[in-house]
Symmetry: C2
Subunit: 402 residues, 2 copies
């Protein structure tokens, strides 16, 4: 049995922001995660497409915690009444205050076959699995001297970024490494009427044009109703054969068993980020049920406020309600191509791309990772070469949810 | 069925040297490997100990082949009479000339339990598995607030380099990340009377002193007769408990089924590197049975000569016998600590370390990898921080032969 106290579950953007706020106040805590690292998810698609090594966008959690201790463990549930976490292996971990920052997980939206036959982008292993599968698909196409087709389902930022990066990867790979492959096609399927629906329509149109200019076939209004071995089926009945199906739609909250949730798996809270009836429990980020978009800035701001409200509670002060300060949004499409909405401004092309690169380098944690990402980007920018094209292991990675 | 011709099996130092010699002569060939990359094995221990990312010491084979084609496939045997390779999946690949460069694999030397309970260092996955296990062992020791003990078996260059790198890794990790761990010990066990037996005795003595100065416990004359869950047993009966046993002794040739071999798994050849009775088949590098040490320069020189003798045979010229040009040997122990024998000179300390670093950067393949390794080393040199401490996946890596 460990000493009780403040426990944070999850070392993503929300959990880490809460930890740092507690550090600043000099208050000890315990951070629990099943992984030993913080992952910079916004660049995960670059690991999947061979532009970055996995460790460049991950940072070990231990050296990031000032007053906090770290426990590598999988939490299997919460006993809200008994105020304890249930750990894998049977151990119980008591808490006096709890900050839940368990994030989200990919969701199949009820479409059959997705869990078995599609690939997702959530953790580092998912990204590495996609890269492995992509390289193996190229080897297979080279051996058969046939063309290659990749399907990206979902036209939000993740789908757009993946499709663009895949197109650039394939253009390089076919020219340099795989002349035997008889062409390669990237299809981006979006069920709605435009890409990037959270952006203004002019930017959606730009994204579509830019992707098409890079050779991506964008299909709007295309609803996938099933994924099978070797392709995906559309609502109209057409079957699109593909070497690889990437599922970039649908996430749901990743709550702990024992918590109340809404239909999307998120934990309802009051405006102070506290669980109703349990003011000692806070939920932040993607698992919070206030209905904000699943973005890093939301998680950061909520993590910080949860820690602050917790400290206020310890001091007998009133809590502060959450108000999201929206600083805008960015999505990258490819080399010198991106869209940005900042304040009232919208812009595209090189300025948006440069802003995107600057913001992402700045937000990365750790001098070493910033240096690595900068070096990799500089290299790719100069030589147009996705640098990480090494197959690890020999087996075929399995699709599906990790 | 593919067009016949020259086939090289294996993209290590020997196979790649042969490929490049054929490229220079403008002669087409096919290179077959079950991996898509050339691996710079001399730095593999730095991947295992968190100093380098795996992709930094591997280079995709395809862009390295000029006139050659590449086939990702596992070769399961040779039909010498029928002059064809048997591929996994049943396909047969005919050849007119064959260069075997299939390298070596770890060997348990008949010691029970090694295959099940010890870790080896051969491929990238082995190195990543050791790093994962090392990080998990530290987390386990932190959770139990107990000390950690690592065992390295074998006092050759690999064992010495591993023990030194582990000691430096642990010194950093315990100070910065794992204050809860109650100490860490690295034991280096060598069955013979001195470390680095291929070097002159004064350098062996230096290596022992240097390692001991870094906190490594060096035990000479210690023969491991069994590895069990949780430790290793010595001939005298003592059981040494350990969180991790690394097996750095014993490799054997990795021949293809269907080839004659000596007791150490190597393919006997004439001085021209040709299989007796099959002058169309060459064997180079670790799998060659001429009895030379399993070093990169041997493989490089043999690969080059095999290609040259093959070209001479095509032109009706006499083959040239192999003569090893020994340019010396190097082994690194730690920061500013190494041993070197070059020509008649022997030296240690910073000059040997700087030479080691220079030679290894120079021999690495690819501008990008050189840059990455330089950057990583510069970073580690400045901050003494092994930069790659990210656990991938969540499961416990299994020991044993991959």
């Amino acid at each position: 049995m460990r000493e009780t106290g403040i426990v944070i579950v999850g070392g993503g953007f929300g959990g880490l922001a809460a930890a740092k706020a507690l550090d600043r106040a000099g208050v000890p805590y315990l951070l629990v995660d099943a992984r030993n690292h913080h992952l910079f998810q916004p660049l995960l698609y670059q690991v999947a497409t061979g532009y970055l090594e996995a460790p460049a966008i991950a940072h070990p959690l231990r050296p990031l915690l000032g007053r906090g201790r770290f426990l590598l463990a999988r939490v299997e549930g919460v006993d809200l009444k008994g105020r304890r976490l249930l750990l894998e292996g049977g151990e119980a971990l008591p808490y006096t205050h709890l900050i839940l920052a368990t994030g989200s997980r990919p969701h199949d939206l009820g479409v059959p076959g997705v869990g078995r036959h599609a690939f997702f982008l959530k953790g580092l292993e998912d990204a590495q699995r996609i890269r492995q599968r992509l390289l193996l698909a190229l080897e297979g196409a080279a051996r058969g001297e046939r063309p290659l087709r990749l399907l990206v389902v979902g036209g939000g930022p993740t789908g757009v970024e993946l499709a663009g990066a895949l197109a650039e990867f394939l253009r390089y790979a076919l020219r340099r490494d795989f002349p035997e492959v008889g062409g390669a096609e990237v299809l981006l399927l979006e069920a709605g009427e435009r890409l990037l629906p959270s952006f203004r329509p002019a930017l959606s149109a730009y994204a579509k044009r830019a992707l098409e200019g890079m050779g991506v076939r964008v299909v709007l209004g295309a609803q996938v109703v099933g994924v099978e071995e070797g392709g995906a089926r559309l609502r109209e009945g057409a079957f699109l054969p593909a070497d690889l199906v990437l599922w970039a739609v649908g996430v749901r909250g990743n709550p702990l068993p024992g918590l109340p949730t809404d239909p999307r798996g998120r934990v309802p809270t009051d405006p102070f980020l506290r669980l109703p009836g349990h003011p000692e429990v806070y939920a932040v980020g993607d698992v919070n049920g206030l209905g904000l978009p699943g973005l890093a800035p939301v998680a950061l701001q909520q993590g910080r406020l949860a820690a602050e409200n917790l400290l206020r509670a310890l001091r007998g002060q009133e809590p502060i309600p959450f108000r999201y300060r929206d600083r805008g949004q960015l999505a990258v499409i490819g080399r010198n191509k991106a869209v940005a909405e900042i304040g009232g401004l919208a812009f595209t092309g090189f300025p948006a791309w440069a802003l995107w690169a600057f913001v992402h380098i700045r937000e990365l944690i750790g001098f070493r990772n910033r240096l690595l990402v900068l070096l990799n980007w500089g290299y790719t920018y100069l030589f147009r070469e996705p640098g990480v094209r090494v197959l690890l292991g020999e087996g075929l990675p399995r699709p599906g949810l990790s």
